[in-house]
């Protein structure tokens, strides 16, 4: 799992079956110091509470679909938690 910052929302009416009701968010992956790394991704929101500006952690690959109600759907990343705090050795 990795940290990410929610940048925005994605609205798609026509979707693959099984994705109805799934929220999609634009997420910028972060390093552990919370600096952006790489390109933004679109992640399904498995907690249904994440919103723009929030620090989240997400899971990639097969396990992303496991986070959703319908576990056999085409998603690459899913947000599985909203971060309250990241504490690193020697600082927070």
């Amino acid at each position: 799992m990795q940290l990410g910052r929610v940048r925005g929302t994605v609205v798609a009416t026509e979707k693959s079956p099984g994705l109805d009701g799934v929220r999609f968010l634009v997420v910028q992956p972060l390093d552990k110091q919370q600096q952006p790394v790489g390109m933004s991704i679109v992640a399904a929101d498995a907690v249904n509470m994440a919103g723009p500006g929030e620090l989240v952690y997400f899971v990639s690959a097969r396990e992303a679909a496991e986070a959703l109600e319908e576990p056999f759907v085409p998603v690459d990343e899913a947000i599985v938690g909203i971060v309250d705090a990241v504490t690193l050795e020697g600082r927070s």
């Binding site: 799992m1 990795q2 940290l3 390093d31 552990k32 498995a46 907690v47 509470m49 952690y57 899971v59 990639s60 690959a61 097969r62 396990e63 992303a64 496991e66 986070a67 576990p71 899913a78 599985v80 938690g81 909203i82 971060v83 309250d84 705090a85 990241v86 504490t87 690193l88 050795e89």
Partner: protein, 87 residues
């Protein structure tokens, strides 16, 4: 599996139910000389590891689910051992 050093932890109240009461650790993946690779992973702890510990990581879903004894769940990265010595 990977060898990593625990450098911190992540606190999260709102999460997928699988992560309720689970400890999340920030793990820096190490190279074969013990140096940092720049890559990190957030992993679920199963061995009471803490910051500063060198640990064994699994970054694969089926193995991780087997450890937790579940058939489904959004878990992929798990701390499965504390390394005493390696080289």
């Amino acid at each position: 599996m990977k060898i990593a050093r625990v450098s911190g932890n992540v606190v999260s109240t709102i999460s997928h139910p699988f992560f309720d009461a689970r400890r999340l650790l920030v793990c820096d993946v190490l190279d074969d000389a013990g140096g940092g690779t720049g890559q990190y992973l957030i992993a679920v702890d199963t061995v009471e590891a803490g910051p500063g510990d060198t640990v064994l990581l699994i970054d694969e879903g089926n193995s991780s689910r087997q450890i937790f004894g579940i058939d489904s769940g959004p878990i992929r990265t798990t701390v499965v051992g504390i390394v005493d010595d390696w080289g």
